[in-house]
Symmetry: C2
């Protein structure tokens, strides 16, 4: 597990702002950031868009995108991060959408499948990951992956 | 500490929807809800409005309210919950705004001071609480208080 405190302090030191748009992690990413003191200097806020309605309304994800590709898809993950960026204009924008389980999995989209959208200063990436373990472990592993990636990228 | 799983299951069983607008708890409330399986049946999503800008833009808190009373105030806590209700129309709407510390405290608004706005089916309340301990403990105690209150109220 990366040192969350060290990475947040790196963001603070470099004055790199961040905001979040979470589906499957359900607030755990924001909470992991805001547990660290002084995180308010770089974290302006985030969305927990659990329902499709909120993904569409708050993050401007296309209704047709969700209908065509599903809420758990590369396309939705990217649109969530893009929508977040258009709202907040933070240096870093992160989205998560996946199947945390234990229910809801299918053959094509099994429990543990997560798409993570990351925008850093305009550079866009969507990662497709398959995490294992319990619901909470899947959420935690997703947050851990994000921090690892940020640590390497900033 | 209340049994979060039992209380979320009570909400699911009674089909009582919920959404959240968090400042000082920074996503911990949403995360505590979404750690429980099937919470997506009743939790539609939430906001983490850490900056004043997001409180105003996403929750329709009055700029003048924040200027007059401060972000950590009964008035802001109530407006956050009201704004959340107008957006999501969930049976339960909850807001948190406070000083999680360790910095940011003043004589009038010390570390640990938290206002919690709760709307349940149109009934509005704002609680003023003073939690003690570390930043994380203050956040956790706030979430614990909210679940205790919900348990008694639903």
């Amino acid at each position: 597990m990366p040192s969350y405190k060290r990475i947040i302090n790196k963001l603070i030191h470099k004055n790199i702002t961040i905001s979040t748009a979470e589906s499957c992690t359900g607030g755990l990413l924001a909470s992991t950031i805001t547990k660290i003191k002084d995180s308010s200097k770089i974290f302006i806020g985030g969305y927990v868009t659990y329902s499709n309605k909120l993904k569409i309304r708050d993050l401007n994800v296309g209704k047709t995108t969700i209908e065509k590709y599903g809420a758990v898809s590369k396309e939705t993950g990217m649109e969530m991060a893009n929508g977040l960026y258009l709202k907040n204009k933070t240096n870093i924008c992160i989205s998560t959408t996946g199947v945390a389980g234990p229910g809801g999995g299918t053959k094509g989209k099994p429990v543990g499948l997560v798409y993570i959208g990351i925008l850093i200063n305009g550079k866009k990436k969507v990662f497709k990951k398959k995490f294992s373990g319990s619901r909470i472990n899947i959420q935690k592993n997703c947050v851990s992956f994000i921090f690892d990636y940020l640590d390497k990228s900033i």
